[in-house]
Structures are given as C-alpha cells and as structure tokens.
C-alpha cells in the first residue's frame, strides 16, 4: 500500500499536533485502515517527542557558569566601553555592573531601594546626561536605560557585592570623587520611591 506525499505531510503534521481537530479526526480514520500510514504516524510521534524531550530532560548547567560568563564578558565589556567608562562617573560603572550581573542574577526584587542603593545616583546621572541633549548623551541614556531594564527585570540579589567587585576590577578603590560619598545634588533630587 502506498501513500502520497500530501498524505504523508498531513501525517507529519498530525504527529506534531499541527492539524485542526476536524482534519485530525479525518486522518485518524485513514490511519486505522492503512498500516503503513499508522506506522509512519507512530514513528513521527516518536521523533517529535524525542526532540521535545531533549530540551525537557536537559541537564543543569555545570556549577560555576556565572563565574565563567563574568570572566568571559567583563574583559569584552571593557574593550567595548573602556574609553567611554574612562570618563564615566561611578554611577555608570554601577550601571555597567548592572548590565552584566543583572542578566545573571535571580529575582524578584522585593525592595528596590534596598537592592539598588546605587540606583538613585545612577538615575541622577541619567538626568544629567539626558539634559545635555547630545548624541553621546542620548547614546549613554539608551545604554543605561537598557542596563537598568535588564537589572530590574532580571532582579539582583547580590547586587551590592557584585558592584563592588566590578568597581574593584575596573577602577580600583573608591575615590573621593565617588558621587555616593557626596550629598545629593539639589538640582537632581532622588527619584520618588528610590531611597538615596
């Protein structure tokens, strides 16, 4: 008994659950009277399930993936943005850290103010560069906004530690110019809902 390619394609689609209920019912009737089609359907089901199973039964990543990703991405980040970060204030370094660790860390963050003590300084800096209205400021704005988006959406549990690690790796000890150590700028008040 032979089957035409069109019917085979329908069997393939049936095995993958891609047919409408009416088409599926009609084809199941054909399967009952055609052993070759029935066999193909069984095989297709097996293939489809095996491919789905491959992802569902995947092993967990080996321990230390975080560290390996950070080790691989931080030098890259510095190459990409090194010149830029040379004049960035500390809030930008914090944002850069958010960029990296925000993708890696679990959420949710229950208390944004507690989890992001640098956020107010970052946002104050964001306001400053946004006020400059230059292409560079707009670029920095987009980068920082994306960084904050990543950090907030992904959630950060050990954010402070990671920021300190990142700053140590890229800038050395905190300098007296660190904006976190100066009083808030009255021209750039903290954003509501985010503690200074």
């Amino acid at each position: 008994m032979t089957t035409d390619p069109f019917t085979e394609a329908r069997v393939t689609a049936l095995a993958a659950g891609e047919l409408s209920s009416e088409d599926a019912a009609a084809l199941r009737g054909e399967l009952a009277s055609n052993p070759r089609l029935a066999r193909l359907y069984g095989e297709m089901r097996g293939i489809h399930r095996a491919l789905a199973d491959f992802g569902d039964t995947a092993p967990r990543p080996a321990p230390g993936l975080d560290a390996r990703i950070l080790a691989a991405t931080l030098p890259r980040f510095r190459r990409l943005y090194g010149r830029r970060t040379a004049y960035w204030p500390t809030w930008a370094a914090a944002a850069a850290a958010m960029l990296v660790v925000g993708i890696l860390q679990p959420g949710p963050v229950k208390d944004l103010a507690a989890a992001f003590p640098q956020a107010s300084a970052a946002i104050a800096g964001l306001r400053q560069i946004a006020a400059q209205q230059s292409d560079r400021a707009r670029y920095d704005f987009e980068l920082l906004r994306a960084s904050l988006g990543v950090a907030i959406e992904g959630g950060i549990v050990e954010f402070e530690d990671r920021v300190r690690d990142f700053e140590r790796a890229t800038r050395g000890p905190a300098s007296p110019d660190d904006p976190r150590q100066t009083p808030p700028d009255p021209a750039n008040p903290p954003v509501e809902g985010v503690a200074p």
Binding site: A16, L40, G42, R45, G46, A50, R76, E142
Partner: protein, 179 residues
C-alpha cells in the same frame, strides 16, 4: 538560577547538544548581548523576548558554522516492523537516551532541513517566525520541516536496523577538535 541565564543556557543546549558546548555558546551569547544591548528599545517588545531572540540567532549561527559528520541515509526504508521498537513510554532514562539519539541524528541530516526542524520541534517557533528568522518563504519552511522530519524517521530506522552507528560523543569530540 538567574531569570535569563538558565533559559539562555537551555537554548544553547538545544543547538549544541552537549553541556560543554552549551557553556561556550552561552558565553558567546552573553558577549553578543553586551554588544547589541544598546540597540534594545523597550517599545520593540519585552526585554526577555528580545534576549531570547538574540540567543536564538546566535544559536542558529553556531549551528550553521560547526562541523558536521553527515550520514548517508538510505532512500529505501528499512524493512517494516509491526511496532516501532525504539520508542515506548518507559523510564525517563530511556526517553533521555532516545532524545539524545534523535538529537544526534538531527545534526546528521541536511542542515537546510535540520534548522527549521530544530526551530519548530525544539524551540516551538511558529512557521512564520521560522520563515522570518531563516529568511525563506513560508511554503519552503513547511516543505523543509516535513522533509526534515521524514529524513529523521529514515535515519532512525537505519539506526534501528543496524545500518548506521548511533551518533554519540565521538561526533561531539570531533566537532570540538575541529574547532
């Protein structure tokens, strides 16, 4: 596990089929994310979806670049058996073994057939999404997915009939050695 790290690793694992290679691809994906992150616009969609799109594109690139050991799949089907002997709902271990076997076979069929099957049956992409991602017409996607699935069935029959060795770690080691 991080919100994005594990999904990205699992996307990578689907494309690479080995944990070690998935690690490497995950690092590449994060590097790519650092490069393209400034291009992200919230108005274009949720960040998570955007990150997964970047990861999938990186996976497709990786899948196309890596070395392959193609099987010569017989055009004639193996002798029929009443019941497919290689799959039945038994233990997780058996299903995992079968999944690894079929995933290995996927690497050995024609890449232009394997890519859309991978995106459809392992990544749950819709046909239009696959057409967009691969830059081919929708009809071509449907045809290739059907042909790819059919090729997998033939390859699986050949393995069951002893006409081809099971794809396994040797192929993975070869790929790493080539890289």
């Amino acid at each position: 596990m991080g919100r994005f790290r594990q999904p990205i690793w699992h996307i990578a694992y689907r494309f690479t089929a080995t944990p070690d290679d998935a690690d490497e691809l995950t690092q590449d994906i994060f590097m790519r994310l650092l490069t393209v992150l400034p291009a992200y616009r919230p108005s274009g969609g949720a960040l998570g979806a955007w990150i997964r799109r970047v990861a999938t594109n990186a996976g497709i690139d990786h899948y196309r670049k890596r070395a392959r050991t193609p099987l010569t799949i017989p055009e004639e089907d193996a002798p029929e058996t009443r019941v497919p002997v290689w799959w039945s709902p038994e233990s997780i271990a058996e299903r995992r073994e079968e999944a690894a076997l079929v995933r290995g076979l996927l690497d050995q069929i024609q890449p232009e057939l394997a890519e859309p099957v991978l995106l459809r049956d392992m990544m749950d992409f819709s046909y239009p999404e696959i057409a967009e991602r691969l830059g081919i017409p929708l009809g071509t996607v449907k045809s290739r997915i059907h042909r790819g699935r059919r090729a997998l069935v033939r390859a699986r029959r050949a393995v069951a009939a002893g006409k081809h060795p099971k794809p396994g770690r040797a192929a993975s080691r070869r790929r790493r050695a080539i890289r």
